[in-house]
């Protein structure tokens, strides 16, 4: 079913088609041409990374990021086995895929030491830690430090949150991570600047690699709208796990002014309430949004799709979108997977000026609107919808920027970083062995 309750008329192939990826080619060679298989096996680089993170079916942005990153890197390393160490709550039973080789129980401190020992005793070459304070146990996720302290293999931390005004404990944790990791990856230059200025991280360790985006070649929005049963509509959308920090109410309140100039506009709010939020306050935020929609009499023009969308569904909705909006309320937000995805699909994007959006949407790649301002949203949506040239120029600029951040490119950046670190680590080990001899 579609956002407007109609049956999907036709599936449009908007996400990447099935690949004859390197890994598949090599697998076939094993049975078809053993000599060539052996030649490739001897020639190609091997590296065995482990990713420490939340992981699907856990529903959170970092879990999805980890899955995308690990599978994208693995496509270039057909002779290496990637693995995941999943961080989970003790009482949760997650039906993980086989790539998850070990589980850390979030609030169990010993579990972090056991995971480090598992890695130390394995053939794993490098650890990629996905960091956000909330996904690890202890105060501000400080158990992650126990893990890193006990680790004998090199580690790289990807930082999904870099606070400009951290508490003393949050600052201490990130600084300790900086000491214990060989590199810290942030997704925008501003994140690196904060790491250096606020946390005194060694500049040699702070690296910028963009947030990955799906590989999507552009299609006409009209063809996708048709498939979604929205052929006569203009579409605005916001997607992601819904919570109060998203600021969706400001877009809803902007709708009357938008509808004055664009009467067939539909605003799609795609995604379920964040599971962590649902636990504490149920659907109260979404109910508040629904009440506002009813009060404004715009229920035909704002539609929810209350579930976790698959990547292909998400891409289809994004491709059908005329204006994508992240009306988020937290100025310090340094990363947004949903904004990155919209950029990757080459959309005209509006956003409040949180740190990540300011940088990613610079140079005409999008437009910034004031925080908590329905007027600013309405004014800019109407401007984009009125000015075809402006809309196209924003879409083109976003798309070109997004191609560089396609997962297949981001994976190469990570793999390059992993190789450099592992090589340096091995030479140091060798130097130590030589020194002892």
């Amino acid at each position: 079913m579609t956002a407007d309750g109609n049956k999907v008329k036709k599936q449009i192939a908007v996400s990447a088609p099935e690949e004859f990826a390197l890994r598949d080619e090599v697998r076939w060679l094993k049975s078809e041409d053993l000599n060539l298989f052996g030649y490739l096996r001897d020639s190609m680089n091997k590296i065995e990374p482990v990713y420490v993170s939340t992981y699907p079916p856990s529903e959170c942005g970092i879990a999805m990021f980890c899955k995308d990153l690990s599978s994208s890197v693995a496509k270039y390393t057909p002779f290496s086995k990637p693995s995941i160490i999943a961080v989970k709550r003790e009482h949760e039973i997650e039906p993980y895929s086989r790539v998850v080789r070990y589980q850390i129980l979030r609030e169990n401190r010993q579990s972090y030491l056991d995971a480090a020992k598992f890695i130390n005793d394995s053939s794993i070459d490098i650890v990629s830690l996905q960091h956000e304070y909330g996904i690890f146990g202890g105060d501000d996720g400080e158990y992650a430090l126990d893990f890193l302290e006990a680790l004998e293999k090199p580690a790289v931390a990807t930082l999904h949150t870099v606070l400009q005004n951290p508490s003393p404990n949050q600052k201490r944790i990130l600084q300790e991570m900086g000491r214990l990791c060989k590199a810290m990856v942030v997704m925008v230059k501003m994140g690196r600047k904060i790491l250096l200025e606020t946390y005194d991280i060694d500049p040699k360790k702070a690296t910028v690699i963009p947030h990955g985006v799906p590989n999507v070649h552009r299609v006409k929005a009209s063809s996708v709208k048709n498939a979604l049963g929205l052929s006569n509509a203009k579409i605005m959308s916001t997607f992601g796990l819904i919570n109060r920090g998203k600021g969706i109410e400001y877009v809803i309140k902007a709708m009357p002014k938008i509808l004055e100039k664009n009467p067939n506009m539909i605003y799609l709010v795609l995604g379920e309430t964040h599971p962590g939020v649902r636990k504490y306050e149920g659907e109260s935020y979404r109910n508040m949004l629904a009440e506002t929609i009813n009060d404004l009499g715009i229920s035909e023009n704002v539609r929810f799709n209350n579930r976790f969308l698959s990547l292909s569904e998400l891409v289809r909705y994004l491709c059908a979108t005329d204006v994508y909006i992240t009306p988020y309320l937290n100025k310090d937000q340094i990363c947004s997977g949903t904004l990155a995805y919209a950029v990757g699909c080459g959309k005209a994007i509006l956003s409040t000026p949180y740190l990540y959006a300011e940088e990613v949407l610079a140079d005409g790649r999008g437009k910034l609107v004031d925080f908590e301002s329905s007027d600013s949203i309405a004014e800019n949506v109407n401007l984009i919808m009125e000015d075809k040239e402006l809309k196209e120029s924003m879409e083109n600029a976003a798309y070109i920027y997004g191609r560089r951040a396609a997962w297949f490119n981001v994976a190469v950046d990570y793999l390059d970083l992993f190789h450099r670190i592992v090589t340096a680590h091995q030479s140091r080990d060798q130097a130590n062995i030589n020194a002892k001899e």
Partner: protein, 116 residues
């Protein structure tokens, strides 16, 4: 704005040269693979692929090349690459495939290498 893959095929002293321009990725690599295998079957097993105008190559593009390599290996052939784009060369270096597909800076060097 066009970022898909353009494929041009010509000959340099009887050696087929496939010129790629754009992106060799999951959307386009099947077409590249098909054209390359056709050329190998009809025009010979010594082949030069020019990637100077390639913006990006992903693992499916590398997969297509390995598919081509399998076809030429069956008949003692060779595939060499021309490329001066650091971003593209990095993909070969990072995977180790630069040892499998020799990369040259100029067409003359590539032709000489594929003949040897």
């Amino acid at each position: 704005m066009e970022m898909d893959l353009q494929i041009n095929v010509r000959k340099h002293e009887e050696i087929p040269v496939i010129e790629l321009s754009g992106e060799v990725d999951a959307y386009t690599s099947a077409r590249f693979r098909e054209i390359m295998l056709d050329i190998i079957d009809s025009d010979g097993v010594k082949l030069v692929i020019s990637m100077n105008d390639v913006e990006y190559i992903d693992s499916s593009g590398l997969g297509a090349l390995v598919g081509g390599l399998k076809r030429v290996s069956e008949r003692d052939g060779k595939i060499v690459i021309i490329c001066d784009k650091p971003q593209v060369k990095k993909v070969f270096e990072i995977t180790g495939l630069e040892k499998v597909f020799p990369i040259y800076g100029t067409e003359e060097e590539a032709i000489a290498a594929v003949r040897s």
